[in-house]
Symmetry: C2
């Protein structure tokens, strides 16, 4: 029974991944100036031509990963698109700064002129990721409150920050860190890290982050139960659900705890009944607490060809392994 359901999941996820890859291959390539459009409306229209560097880097990374590891994506057009994206980044993303060190712009005009440079280093991270491999981000987060909660922001020495900033929780980030840790634990055969990852970074944020009234994962929470000060705290975003699917399925695959599979099915049900747009392709990214589409575009300054295909790709791989081991 469970194998039948898992097989159904795999077929569905495989079809979703094919459809999402098709969407971005069809709409996002700028054949004139290179690089990718990422601000893509409901029906594939480009509503902003700026090139957001995070998403340029992520799309190159995602294409490379698919090309390298999934047979059906080992296609010349994907390799060509990844190379073209990398060339665009190398040519335009790096800007010189007053300190003499190089920086990456946050966004560029369609033809590659820097529009905005941010002080943070995320653009540089995704640039490096695109050129190389997924960075070791797994150890950035720290356990606080004696392991009773994962906090979004801590001080450099790991202690809790004052005020609501310090109390902020982001269930999606905790779950994402959870599967980073699970991969790390599996590579090193470290059962202690595996147990911590499952209990503290998967089960805990899933339980506290799930909206019992309307379903779905909250975007932000306050660890002491105050109302978060982020206006969008109660919204349901696509990417925490993508991360939850990976984290829960990977945690089940490593531990075979039945509860984790049940949780996976719960997130699966919510995710696929709310986010995908069967009419226009791809997923909507931003829902109200009640699950209504609040922003109707498919790609934007922070939503590109990354979380959805990474989730579908990884879930498909894990399901392949699970079903192979059951056969």
């Amino acid at each position: 029974m469970s194998a039948v359901k898992l097989e159904e999941c795999r077929q569905h996820i495989r079809a979703q991944l094919d459809s999402v890859v098709d969407f971005w291959l069809k709409y996002s390539h700028d054949t004139v100036h290179g690089g990718f459009f990422t601000c893509i409306g409901k029906d594939g229209n480009i509503y902003d031509e700026l090139k957001y560097v995070w998403l340029q880097g992520r799309q190159v990374w995602m294409y490379c990963r698919l090309y390298r590891t999934v047979d059906r994506f080992r296609k010349p057009e994907i390799l060509k698109a990844a190379k073209a994206g990398g060339a665009f980044l190398r040519k335009f993303a790096r800007v010189s700064s007053s300190s003499g060190q190089w920086k990456c712009a946050f966004c560029l005009t369609r033809d590659g002129k820097a529009v905005k440079v941010q002080r943070s280093i995320f653009s540089e991270c995704f640039y490096v990721m695109a050129m190389d491999e997924l960075s070791r981000v797994t150890e950035d987060q720290d356990m606080q409150r004696d392991g009773a909660a994962i906090l979004e922001n801590v001080s450099a020495d790991g202690s809790e920050l004052p005020g609501c900033l310090g109390r902020l929780q982001n269930p999606g980030h905790a779950l994402e860190a959870g599967w980073f840790l699970l991969q790390y634990a599996a590579e090193r055969g470290d059962e202690q890290i595996q147990t911590t990852a499952i209990q503290k970074f998967v089960e805990l944020p899933y339980e506290s982050g799930w909206d019992k009234a309307h379903g779905g994962l909250f975007y932000f929470l306050d660890v002491d139960g105050h109302c978060p000060t982020q206006l969008e705290w109660s919204m349901k975003l696509w990417w925490p659900h993508s991360e939850a699917l990976i984290a829960l399925l990977m945690a089940y695959s490593q531990s075979r705890k039945a509860e984790l599979l049940q949780s996976f099915f719960q997130v699966y049900e919510y995710t696929f009944s709310h986010f995908p747009d069967p009419a226009g392709g791809e997923w909507f990214g931003y829902l109200t607490q009640e699950g209504k589409v609040a922003l109707d575009f498919k790609g934007g300054p922070f939503k590109g060809f990354f979380h959805v295909p990474r989730c579908l790709y990884m879930c498909e791989r894990i399901l392949d392994d699970l079903l192979a081991s059951k056969e």
Copy 2:
């Protein structure tokens, strides 16, 4: 009839202003370290002790203005609170920067240690405002699209920025700029500025910003009708409604156009039936598009003793003048 309704409005606004001032006098003063708490929950509880410098400066400004210009607020406790807030700011808000110029912190610990310094200059603005007078912010915004729309962000030379950033509209900011311009026009007797302010900065953003389906003013819009990329775009915030009340009443008072008074009554109806909390005092600040309370605190990192009392104070003054002229 209209005078009767205006008199009702005045009584109601006066009572609201008294109640809001009481709320902040009662809950926000830090008698141990000085300065003001601004993160205040539904029932007056302090849920974050950090001192946000914008709101420290704004509260000092608001207390001074009330003390100086409204007889019933000329009370020693208000003067004392304003002075104490000013002393706290002078002692702790200014920090030295690497460039040698002084900066203001964005927020401080309860006892005045800088927690966060931002690159933007808003903290400095509100610091200066608190120490001196309301700055001349009226001419910051520019008319774009041949006067058919007010844009939130433009380049230094006034031209339109590329992408969705350049197309962003914030009806509340446009309306706020509108009444700044109306004041400026009245001081100088400049009818051309008055006409522009009413047509372009009051009527236009009110008409395009009003949610015909659920009532209330949208937080953000895209001038070309695309979905804004701000997650909170469709939420109803308290302050755009505060600014709309001032702008519409001032525009009516200067022009006596009946449509402006009707619009004022429409915003009045929505505002007072949605934002004030008769049970716990003060106003809720953040509603969903449908008008449900989405964040239930009374004060937060960006909501303090400023927009609500400034709106009530100014509306009361304008109604005094209007009613006096009718008598």
